[in-house]
């Protein structure tokens, strides 16, 4: 379990989705979803594939505009902010993407310093120092800096992605499926890095995951989404909100089956569909 105790929530959530609906063309993904992220906490977003976890995270980070509803940062709506202000505010966030999303055309060094070069006036020696420090922080040697993303293993890519997300010293970090596709040992390394980042920097974290080991180790609070197509009309899409222990003890079969990794009645439902 996570070693440090969660901080008491502040009055105004650092991030909030208020009654958000999101669709892509005719495909609805979210319907009237409300999610609050308190300062300093680590929130795990769980749910089946395709239930809208990554979309929720991108909405929280301001990478997507909602079809309906309101996104608030520090209690202020994101909509209506000038694009320059939005870009500046977004720099307070670090984002580790699902596939790391490293820029293929750049080496590791250029990937990590991208945000610094684009948004600061730091001189190259200072940038170099930060890049090497971030590489050390995620447990990578300095010689990795010259490698291309194509030359890295899955775990190394995730760690470089994390180093890039940390380069601008963000207040909030989003981890989109940080352990997916990694072996158990590397998954634990990533979990450990999430915990270390949390304790060293006291950041707010949002972790999208299917991995219950990650939920147990890093999360203070869990929010579970249910796929919109299977939510009964009028019922909320957020089917659980609470601590990891509460999630594992949940009597709701949808939550219980998911956290225990049991098919339950799902196979029958799929056959009937």
């Amino acid at each position: 379990m996570k070693p440090s105790t969660p901080q008491p929530p502040s009055v105004s959530p650092v991030l909030e989705l208020r009654q958000i609906s999101q669709s892509f063309g005719t495909q609805g993904v979210l319907r009237e979803v409300t999610v609050k992220v308190q300062r300093g906490e680590t929130l795990a977003l769980i749910g089946e594939s395709g239930c809208g976890k990554s979309v929720t995270t991108k909405l929280l980070a301001g990478l997507l505009d909602p079809t309906r509803g309101e996104v608030l940062w520090e209690g202020r709506p994101v909509k209506g902010r000038a694009s320059s202000e939005l870009r500046r505010d977004r720099l307070r966030f670090g984002y580790l993407f699902q596939g790391a999303a490293l820029f293929d055309s750049m080496n590791v060094y250029e990937n990590i310093c991208f945000g610094l070069r684009e948004n600061t006036d730091l001189k190259e020696p200072e940038i170099r120092e930060i890049v090497l420090e971030r590489l050390r922080e995620v447990g990578l040697a300095a010689n990795v800096a010259e490698k291309r993303p194509a030359d890295l293993s899955g775990g190394m890519k995730k760690r470089v992605g994390l180093a890039r997300a940390l380069a601008m010293s963000p207040d909030v970090i989003f981890y989109d499926e940080p352990t997916t596709g990694l072996d158990p040992v590397m998954s634990d390394v990533i979990n450990e890095l999430i915990l270390q980042t949390q304790s060293r920097r006291n950041v707010t974290s949002v972790v999208v995951t299917h991995d219950m080991q990650t939920v147990r180790r890093v999360a203070d609070r869990v929010v579970m989404l249910y796929p919109l197509g299977r939510v009964a009309p009028g019922m909320p899409q957020v089917i659980f909100e609470g601590t990891p222990d509460e999630a594992f003890a949940s009597e709701d079969p949808r939550v219980g089956c998911f956290v225990r990794g049991e098919a339950g009645a799902r196979l029958k439902e799929m056959s009937a569909a």
Partner: protein, 279 residues
């Protein structure tokens, strides 16, 4: 109501034509909006040299060999094809004017643009499409960069500014190819080859050809980047974006060529009527 439902389920050719017209207008509107947003981004922030120079090298310098080879062979083929017809009328000494006027006015700009659309446009669409599919475009946003300014502006500038040079390369090499076959292989007089070329080509022809190429370059960059940004999911989406980029660019080049040729011919007549000559 029932008529509407039946139309939606089984559209008539008129419905399909109407739908296609709406889709074309929507696509053009979307493309123009994309172009205007890109121009807006260019005014707000000029691309940094370390981003712009590699793109210019890739688009300009790396395209020279392919344009060199195609220009050379088009010039030679023009000579081979024109020679027999001109010879029937004992006009083979004027072959230089046919080859060089064709090259400078039409083939040079269109050839350079087509090669650019094939070599560079498709690659740009595929690269940006791959970036979209692998969330790299969202990563740019997350790292404080505007994807439109960061990705599209340098590519637009490189295509727009370097296509005139590539057109002049195609013109020059094509002329050399035409001269080589006409004079060295088919035995046309070197003196008459250049004399008639000089008589028939004016500075206006060269300027008009190069001016056309600027529009072609802009169209290629905007279409390719637009296709990349609107790429569908997976490898199939990236492949489709690259193919669409070339097909739409090629159509745009031909349509623009026709419209610009008409406009430039009218401009020439207007200048001539006003007593302004561009020799």
């Amino acid at each position: 109501m029932s008529a509407l439902s039946s139309n939606a389920a089984d559209p008539t050719p008129i419905h399909m034509l109407g739908r296609m017209a709406v889709e074309i207008v929507e696509a053009i509107g979307d493309l123009v909006t994309f172009f205007l947003r890109m121009l807006g981004g260019m005014l707000v922030r000029w691309p940094r040299a370390r981003v712009l120079w590699p793109v210019m090298y890739e688009i300009g310098v790396q395209s020279v060999p392919v344009i060199f080879v195609t220009g050379l062979f088009i010039g030679m083929v023009l000579a081979v094809q024109s020679y027999d017809t001109l010879r029937m009328f004992r006009l083979e000494s004027r072959i230089g004017s046919i080859i060089n006027v064709s090259l400078v006015r039409e083939l040079g700009p269109v050839l350079a643009a087509t090669m650019l659309a094939g070599r560079v446009g498709s690659a740009m669409a595929a690269e940006i499409g791959t970036m979209r599919v692998t969330e790299q475009i969202e990563a740019l946003k997350a790292l404080g960069a505007d994807p439109l300014t960061y990705l599209v502006v340098p590519r637009f500038l490189a295509c727009f500014l370097l296509i005139p040079a590539l057109t002049l390369v195609a013109d020059g090499v094509g002329m050399f190819g035409g001269w080589f076959v006409s004079v060295q292989v088919l035995g046309v007089s070197d003196h008459f080859f250049w004399l008639y070329s000089q008589q028939f080509i004016s500075a206006y022809d060269v300027i008009a050809g190069v001016s056309k190429s600027l529009f072609f370059g802009a169209a290629i960059a905007v279409i390719a980047c637009h296709r990349g940004f609107h790429c569908g999911a997976g490898a199939e989406g990236v492949g489709r974006a690259a193919t669409d980029s070339f097909v739409f660019s090629f159509i745009a080049i031909l349509v623009l060529d026709l419209l610009l040729s008409i406009a430039l011919n009218n401009l020439y007549r207007l200048l001539w009527a006003l007593g302004i000559t561009v020799v």
